[in-house]
Structures are given as structure tokens and as C-alpha cells.
């Protein structure tokens, strides 16, 4: 019989949000990807393994904290060059990164000097990574029924088929 769907309370869901617009996020995206890598990957791993957003609220909270720290660090150190960069992105149609190379270089240099963050190379953020967590792997996250037993192993001696392969004409 169907049970009550458990929904977390409003108090569990309140998290300090990152109050920032899309151009700002896109401007800082590459550095964010390399700095806040751990929290992000753990959250995505949790989400994809458990297939349930209610179980990943803790990791989501950590993602938000990391993002807020990241933006605080930028605001503390490289505020002007970052503001120029994201205003340039905001101004360009579709926020294309290639129209704002000058400001991007200025921002990258500033961040490299003060915080020693390097901008990741092209393709670094799309690499497949292994994530180490303390959370155990959930068994049967889809809550499926019991699967039927596998076929028993064949015990007799296996011979190659007589007169050659039967799939001779259908071998594509």
C-alpha cells in the first residue's frame, strides 16, 4: 500500500543562498570549477548514486558554503577586475566568453598573484574523476524487486559447431 511521501521540513531546507546573477556565475565558472571541485563532485556523486534529492541535502549545503567562501575570497581580493569582467560578459549578447578576453586576462592575472589560483586548461573540467567519500554505496537505489536467478553454468564439454558458423551471412 502506498505510504506517505516524506518531504524534509522548511528548516532543513533553509540554506544560505548564493545571491548572484548569471553573468557573475559564468565569469567565475572556470575558477569555481577548479577551486570548489571536491564539494561539487561529492554532491553530484551522491545525487547520481542515491537518485533521491532528499538524501543529498547535507552535501548540497556544503556546496553552497564552498561557493559562498569562493565569492567572498574574490570580493576580498580581486573585486574591481572581476566586476569589469562580469559587466563585460553581461553586456555581450549570449554572454560569450570570447568577447571579453582582455578583462579575462586581467582577472586571471590578479587572481594568480593574490590567491595563486590557476585557470584550468581547456578540457580539464570535463575530465572524469574518481571521488572518495565516506558515504557507503547504496544497494538497490531503485528499490526493484528481486531479480531472477542467473542461468546455471554449462557443464558439458563445448565443441565448435559443425559445418562452420551459423551466422556466416549475418555477421554485421
Amino acid at each position: 500500500m502506498p505510504d506517505v511521501v516524506e518531504v524534509p521540513t522548511l528548516q532543513e531546507l533553509t540554506v544560505e543562498e548564493v545571491n548572484v546573477s548569471s553573468a557573475v556565475l559564468k565569469a567565475a565558472a572556470h575558477h569555481y570549477g577548479s577551486q570548489c571541485d571536491k564539494a561539487n563532485k561529492e554532491f553530484m556523486l551522491c545525487r547520481w548514486e542515491e537518485k533521491d534529492p532528499r538524501k543529498c541535502l547535507k552535501e548540497g549545503r556544503k556546496v553552497n558554503e564552498c561557493a559562498l567562501n569562493f565569492f567572498r575570497q574574490i570580493k576580498g581580493n580581486c573585486a574591481e577586475s572581476f566586476t569589469e569582467y562580469w559587466t563585460c560578459l553581461d553586456y555581450s549578447n549570449l554572454a560569450e566568453l570570447r568577447h571579453c578576453r582582455k578583462q579575462q586576462k586581467a582577472f586571471d592575472n590578479c587572481v594568480l598573484e593574490k590567491l595563486s589560483w590557476e585557470r584550468p586548461e581547456l578540457g580539464d573540467l570535463s575530465k572524469v574523476t574518481k571521488v572518495a567519500t565516506s558515504r557507503p554505496l547504496p544497494e538497490n537505489p531503485y528499490l526493484s524487486r528481486q531479480r531472477p536467478e542467473p542461468n546455471p553454468p554449462i557443464e558439458a564439454e563445448l565443441q565448435p559447431s559443425k559445418h562452420g558458423s551459423r551466422m556466416f551471412f549475418w555477421n554485421w
Partner: protein, 112 residues
């Protein structure tokens, strides 16, 4: 003259291929920006759906309190696993514009 024409063609093709490779690199860079931001966006989206479900649950408890044999928040499925809520289910008690905006506000495709 024919050779000059063919030479121009080949030169044009070579320039085209180079620029296409450069465009591919630029596109990959923009996709990587999206990849880097996905956890943040996914976490916010999850929190938003869960918050709307919670509000709907409380409204349901208020609305159906006099109906006999009604379990508040009862699942309509036989399974226990998480089922992503539909937009209609989430935006049930809100003005219609919000649901339309969520459904049709941002479209990946362009044909009508």
C-alpha cells in the same frame, strides 16, 4: 586560371577548417563553464522543488482536514522510491502564469 581558382578554393577550405576547430574550442570552453556550475544549479533546483512540495503538503493538510479517510501526503505510486514531481503537481496551488513560465519560459529548441 583554373589552377588559381582551385588554389583559392583549397586555401578557403583550409581557413574554414581552422576556424571551425577554433570555434569548437570556444564552444567546449562555454560548455565547461556550464559543467562547473551544474552542482550549484542542481542543489538550488532540488531545494526549490522540495520547498514547494513542503508548502503543498501543508496546504493539503489545511484543505482536506474535514474529509474522512484522507491520508495527507499520500503517495500515488506503489513504490517507495523518489519520483520526480511533475510541474503541474508542484505549481498546482499557484497562479497559472508561474506554471506556464516554468514549462515554456526557457526552451532548448526553437521550432514552434
Amino acid at each position: 586560371m583554373f589552377g588559381v581558382g582551385v588554389g583559392l578554393l583549397v586555401f578557403g577550405y583550409w581557413r574554414l577548417f581552422r576556424w571551425n576547430r577554433e570555434r569548437r574550442r570556444l564552444h567546449i570552453e562555454e560548455l565547461e563553464a556550464r559543467v562547473a556550475l551544474l552542482p550549484l544549479l542542481q542543489a538550488e533546483h532540488d531545494r526549490r522543488t522540495l520547498r514547494m512540495l513542503r508548502e503543498n503538503l501543508e496546504e493539503e493538510a489545511v484543505i482536506m482536514r474535514d474529509v474522512p479517510d484522507w491520508k495527507v501526503g499520500e503517495s500515488v505510486f506503489h513504490t517507495d522510491r523518489w519520483v520526480s514531481p511533475l510541474t503541474e503537481e508542484l505549481f498546482n496551488l499557484r497562479p497559472r502564469e508561474e506554471m506556464l513560465r516554468k514549462k515554456f519560459g526557457f526552451l532548448w529548441y526553437v521550432w514552434s
